[in-house]
Amino acid sequence: MTAPYVLTMVLLAIGIYAIACKRNLIKVVIGVMVAEYAVNLFLILLGYRTGGFAPIRTEAMDQAAGAAEAAKSFAAASVDPLPQALILTSIVIGLGVVALLAAMAIRLHEKYGTFDVSEMRKLQG
């Protein structure tokens, strides 16, 4: 079953479309954000196990089955923690990119008085 993966591609396509076709700087920023959502969604889908639970061990588990047993049953049923660590990093990186983009958009708005890309033509190519 790989249909959810394909849906994240649709989301990525929406982001790319916004970046390529929209002339408003804020719309471009939104396009970048949507593309980042797509990749975060993709990674979390990679880590899910059917019927799995959050990868957090609790004292109750240990008391119910004993520490050694609890470790095994926990590892057998929990979802994959690695993609979650990757997504946490990726969310932070996305936030950094958005902050930088917003700073540039503000500065460009100060210089040109508009968010319209087509009115910024100081560069040839």
């Binding site: 959502y37 899910y48 059917t50 799995g52 990093t89 950094g96 968010f115 319209d116």
Partner: protein
């Protein structure tokens, strides 16, 4: 409702919100829609067993919303009547269709949803509590097994804040430096 139904529902919601965010004529609606998509994403995180990410996503979303609204939406904007570049629209749509079609074909060969190969992370789950003392395996991975990545992540956010400071300086170049250095 089973997990799958909820998941498809939420993904459809995110996609609709993203389309509205991209196509809305009003910038405020756009920004609010993209925040709605982010909120949907955080519910998916919760659904798929990632409460850490759900918390982080929600607060980051709020912060992005605040930044975008304060920074952007309050400013004058003149692009409402702008007509999109036809060539770019056709090219963009063609590329996106191609991407989705290729993905729909090729992703059938991926390891299916719900049954990941956990070559690297299986031992992480097994050893996280015993070896690092972190009952939350995500923290065990993030700050012990893969702490070096987290150093990089902290550096990225550091670089972006310093970058924002640098970009928002009032004066970038010194105009009087010429005389100083020519002395």
């Amino acid at each position: 409702m089973g997990v799958m139904t909820t998941l498809y529902f939420l993904m459809a919601f995110i996609i609709v919100a993203a389309v509205i965010a991209v196509e809305a004529r009003d910038l405020l609606s756009s920004v609010v829609s993209v925040a709605a998509a982010g909120a949907g994403l955080s519910i998916i995180f919760l659904l798929l067993g990632a409460p850490d990410l759900a918390i982080t996503q929600v607060v980051v979303e709020v912060l992005c919303l605040v930044i975008l609204i304060r920074a952007a939406v309050t400013r004058k904007d003149t692009t409402y009547d702008a007509r999109p570049n036809t060539f770019a629209v056709v090219g963009g749509l063609a590329f996106c269709t191609l991407l989705c079609a290729v993905a729909a074909y090729a992703f059938k060969a991926m390891v299916p949803f719900g049954d990941p190969k956990m070559t690297m992370s299986g031992p992480y789950l097994l050893k996280s509590f015993e070896s690092t003392g972190a009952a939350n395996s995500v923290m065990g991975v993030l700050l012990d097994f893969r702490a070096y990545d987290t150093l990089g992540e902290a550096t990225v956010i550091f670089a972006s804040i310093i970058g924002a400071y640098v970009l928002l300086r009032h004066v970038g170049r010194r105009t009087d430096a010429r005389h100083e250095s020519d002395r």
